[in-house]
Structure formats: C-alpha cells, structure tokens
C-alpha cells in the first residue's frame, strides 16, 4: 500500500514538504479508506466518521511544510483519528470517556452464527484488549507500530494482545477457531 503509484509515503511527504499539493492528495487517496473505516470504528456512525476523517487530514495538512514521518503513516494517523473521535464524542454526546476506550465495538452481527458469536465476544473484551486485537489483525499493524501509536511499551501491547486472544481461545463460542492451530 505504501508503495503504490510509484512513490512511497516517505517520498510523498517529502514532495508535500516541498509544496506539492498533489503529493498530499496522493497520501489522502492512499489512506482514506483505512482512515474512514477506523473513524467509523470509533464513532459507529457514518456521518461522524466522515467528519472525523476529514478533521484528521486537515490536522495533518497543517503540519506541512516541516512534517517529519518518523513512523508508518498509519502509526501517525491512528492516534490523531482516535483523539479527534473521542474529543468529538465527548462534546456531542456529553459523556465522560476513558482515554483508552475504543467506544464502538462493531456492527451488529448479521450473517452466520460463527460471525455473530465472534462479534459478541469481541464486544465484551476489555476495550484496551479489543483495541490492540483490531489494530493487529484488522489494521495489520506491527506490534512495534501499535506500541508507538498508543504510546505504550511493547510489552504492554503483547500483554494486551495475549489477553485478548486468550479470552477468545477460552470462550466456548470462539474456541473452535484455535483448533486449526493445534
């Protein structure tokens, strides 16, 4: 993904730093689908998700020129989207949220029984475990990138992911997934 259109994210950031608006647009085009999906995960509402995504890219835009990409682009964008979404939810819904909460756990299950069970179990995981589980296996982020995005030690990420998987492994509804590993 980071190498599409012939230029890496790093090269596009450099071009945008030189004042090329098309380079920023290419970054946006490359990452907007993921950003939209992540925004939806935090807000659970399409319109709110679009607003959050838009605000996140505008925030990023204001970093140019002079933006330094010191990690994967998604590693930088993740906490931006999360913070904007949580801040928005605090304002609009007038509720107090824990900084570490991933508020929206997923869409209501709608198809097979196995899928429904998985959604139910994931929803009941502690938010900090669920968040790491989704970052690792849905967003396909490396453990080191997750640690950076969440500003927590790598060991904490491993521990949270381990606990999330353990819960899935031990629940009778999702235990069958792990039989293929044995």
């Amino acid at each position: 993904m980071a190498e599409s259109n012939g230029r890496s994210d790093e090269q596009l950031v450099e071009a945008a730093n030189r004042g090329d608006p098309r380079a920023f647009d290419a970054l946006y085009q490359r990452h907007k689908a993921w950003a939209a999906q992540l925004s939806y995960r935090f807000t659970g509402n399409h319109d709110d998700a679009m607003d959050v995504m838009q605000e996140a890219f505008i925030y990023l835009l204001r970093k140019f020129p002079g933006f330094r990409l010191t990690a994967a682009f998604t590693t930088f964008l993740y906490p931006v989207i999360k913070n904007i979404a949580l801040s928005r939810l605090r304002k609009t819904r007038r509720i107090v949220l824990d900084e570490n909460i991933v508020l929206y756990a997923g869409e209501p299950p709608k198809e097979s029984g196995a899928e429904r069970s998985l959604a139910d179990i994931v929803t009941t995981l502690p938010a900090i475990h669920r968040e790491v589980l989704l970052m690792r296996f849905v967003d396909d982020m490396k453990l080191e990138d997750i640690a950076e995005a969440l500003a927590v030690p790598l060991g904490t990420v491993k521990s949270r992911l381990h606990n999330a998987l353990k819960a899935l492994r031990e629940d009778e509804s999702t235990r069958s997934y792990f039989e293929e590993l044995q």
Partner: protein, 139 residues
Amino acid sequence: MTDHHDIRDADLEAPATLLADLRSLYGAPREVPAEVDDTIRRAVWRHFAATPRARIVRYLFPLAAAAAAAAILAILPLSRESIPGDIDGNGEVDILDAFALARRMEATEKIEGGWDMNADGLVDEVDVDLIAAVAVALW
C-alpha cells in the same frame, strides 16, 4: 495477568479463519463520498497556496534559503500559458496553476493580463479561485 516476558510470539498469532472473520466484521472498506474528497482537495489547495514560499524553502534549505529562492526566481523566465489558466505552461490546468498564480501574486511578480480568468480587469484571488475550481473539476 501474564507477564509479557512469558509470552511467546506463537501466542500472539491468530488462526487464518479468525483473521478473516475479524476483517469481515471490522475491516470492511468504507466508501468516502465525493463531497468529502472535494472538501479535502480544496483545503489542500488553500493550504499550499497560502503557505509562504519562504516557509517551504526554509524547510528545505535552512541556510540562506530565502536569498537562494529569490535568486532563482529572478533568473527563471515566467512561462506564458497557451491555455487560459495554465499558469505554468505545462499544457494543462491543474491545482499547481492556482498555486503558482497565488505565489506570484504574493511575491508581487509580473502578472500577465491573460491570467484574468473572469475578465474583470483585475488579476486577483477570484482568478486564483477560478483556476482552482477548474482544476478540482478536472480531477
């Protein structure tokens, strides 16, 4: 709670079927409406058009950047466009043309009469906006 030192890499792997179901549940691509794309593009253009050239140059060349940029601008001929709005003369009207016109206005460089897009006798921000609108429409 398991200490992370006791966790093996194999303990952090997910079966392929679990991965597939998680992605199906939470990773479905979200369609971004065209109006959101347009809003972002306009913001991008406005931002880069409004970003002082010196700020960009200072980022690229910390030492004597402003002087170098001024020297380069002084020796480079201004390209004359053959297509209305084609400020940089590359044969197409794109967001960089609006960007270029804004820069030239900002630097109070020579303004060509042919850049008066709305033919009101002035080359101003309205003309920049018109070029940007054309560029966005073409994208």
